[in-house]
Symmetry: C2
Subunit: 180 residues, 2 copies
């Protein structure tokens, strides 16, 4: 799949077929994510690959517990039905103060590569600036050491939904020439 | 270019040919960036497309002024030589507290799409958590309104350098099964 095709085809998928995602497919996607840019080329990524239902359930419960009121339309229970859930953390000692950027760049590459491989995913946050317990509890559940900050959660699975077409804001409202 | 091919081919490019990048090419890339995921589908992006040398020079000067000591090996002067510099800001009223994620996801798509179109780019930050003046001065220079936060700067141009191969950290150091 071409880059342009994947960018336009990728949608947030929260419903997955009951069909396994192979270890080699997951490793191939993580290998691609490792090619992302990172601040000072620190390559600070850690990928926790979760398949055990009990652990997925715990992560979903933590996400639900700290979900802000305005986002309750997206419950995290569906994480339990994803064949694989990847928690992406970054080593603060290799991040040069850019933990978020480093994680999100790799997540974007991972999701696009997943789309190109026929897999669905959705970006979810493993931390919240105003709710430190979210990252703390995810870290404790997954034995993440203190120098690694969990930033992103990405479930992966073959899509079992076709989201309705997304209405895009007009590009001309977003583009400004020279200055705003 | 395929997604996998672009992810592996993309490198941070800071030296550009003296060859213009057309408005239609830039708009096509921004159209693709607009297809990125965003929190609650807020599509909060604003793209400021800069071609005027004087403005590029001001942005480079601001970046240099607030560059942390450990990153001084990357001076921002090269921004003046990029045919186009895009400053990506996000509307805080459409970002649901996820300004950074929203900007970085679009930036990742934009850079991959640029690579697939033969263009070089590099991710640069327009803000720093510990140095609010960086974003303030960029905002003032570009007349960015208060409800829009500048997050990312992406120069674009045809590459005039071939970076040496990047040595990647072993994937097995990054992958953890079930828990860390």
């Amino acid at each position: 799949m071409t880059v342009d095709g994947a960018i336009k085809a990728r949608r947030s998928i929260r419903k997955y077929q009951d069909k396994p995602v192979s270890e080699s497919d997951v490793n191939r996607l993580l290998d691609l994510a490792r090619h992302s840019p990172s601040s000072m080329n620190g390559q600070p990524w850690h990928f926790i690959v979760i398949r055990e239902p009990g652990i997925k359930k715990e992560i979903a419960a933590i996400k639900n517990r700290y979900c802000p009121a305005e986002k309750r339309s997206y419950e995290a229970d569906f994480l339990e039905t994803a064949p694989v859930v990847i928690v992406l953390g970054v080593d603060t000692e290799r991040s040069y103060g850019r933990e978020l950027e480093n994680s999100v760049l790799a997540a974007a590459h991972l999701m696009l590569a997943a789309c190109a491989a026929g897999l669905g995913s959705v970006y979810m946050s493993a931390y919240a600036a105003d709710e430190p317990k979210l990252a703390e509890e995810i870290g404790r559940t997954l034995n993440i050491p203190k120098n690694v900050r969990p930033i992103t959660i990405i479930p992966l699975g073959y899509p079992d939904e076709v989201p309705p077409p997304k209405s895009l804001r007009p590009l001309k409202e977003m583009i400004h020439l020279e200055r705003f």
